[in-house]
Symmetry: C2
Subunit: 126 residues, 2 copies
DNA sequence: TTATTTTTGCGACTGAGTTGCATTAATTGT
DNA sequence: ACAATTAATGCAACTCAGTCGCAAAAATAA
């Protein structure tokens, strides 16, 4: 365990999440911070931020990991089950403020749910 | 395009999907048919079966591709948007017969939705 | 049966994500 | 402020799912 340190790289990643309000894929993050920090570092920072509950992760259409800052739900216990939307044209991914209803399944205990919506975003529709 | 040929390998894969009624990951399929057919062959057969609408695919919790035979919806135009359930204990994955409601997003056109439920299945609960 | 076209096997490859380890940087205690 | 401690980073090598090109084999059509 131990303390989480506020390193230069952590600050850079945090700053980015504060600027952008959409979600971002790890691949894009690696590209964006190319030269500033190592691939492994990014993966490790994201892991830590997620552990702390400062970001949440989910998989995009292609199964690639995406992260977004928890805006709506930062105070709560990080049990935000909201859908995510990915534009199949421009690739942009964002969180959707919409409460999804989880079906009850007989004899099964559902602990998590992730809903991924794909389609065309407002920019690409125009 | 051309005709889809009914090869020995295709038969084996079809037989398996008729036997099992749960979904199965590509990794498990590769393992299961190890010695009987090549990894690439499996991937290609699954691609073809999906093109034909005989199976559908989705991503499991770890982003790995899974396939299942379309039981409930084989006749329709393969627009089956049903959830999938994955047991985090035993790893089993299955289709869930439950109509999910897709939220309407302003200015966005949603074409697809995939809902993945994770938790503990009836066997592992006992 | 022969000609045509699709599938397969193989091996090499790609690309995301992980790991071990030595080095560097942040924190803690004095 | 400085030394000691402990966490984070860089690097390079690795794992593993999935893809690709191409020659050989198997299906279908003629």
């Amino acid at each position: 365990m131990g303390v989480v340190r506020n390193t230069k790289s952590v600050k850079l990643v945090n700053d980015l999440f504060n600027e952008i309000h959409s979600a971002i894929g790890v691949v894009e993050l690696v590209e964006k911070f190319n030269g500033q920090m190592n691939k492994s570092t990014i993966y490790r920072i994201l892991d830590r931020l997620e552990d702390e509950g400062r970001v949440h992760s989910f998989l995009g259409v292609n199964g690639l990991k995406h992260y977004a800052k928890c805006h709506d739900c930062s105070k709560s216990e990080h049990v935000d089950i909201h859908p995510h939307f990915q534009c199949t044209t421009c690739g942009k991914v964002e969180c959707v403020s919409y409460e999804i209803k989880i079906p009850r399944l007989s004899n099964k205990k559902i602990e998590q749910a992730q809903l991924l919506l794909t389609g065309t975003c407002e920019v690409c529709l125009a």
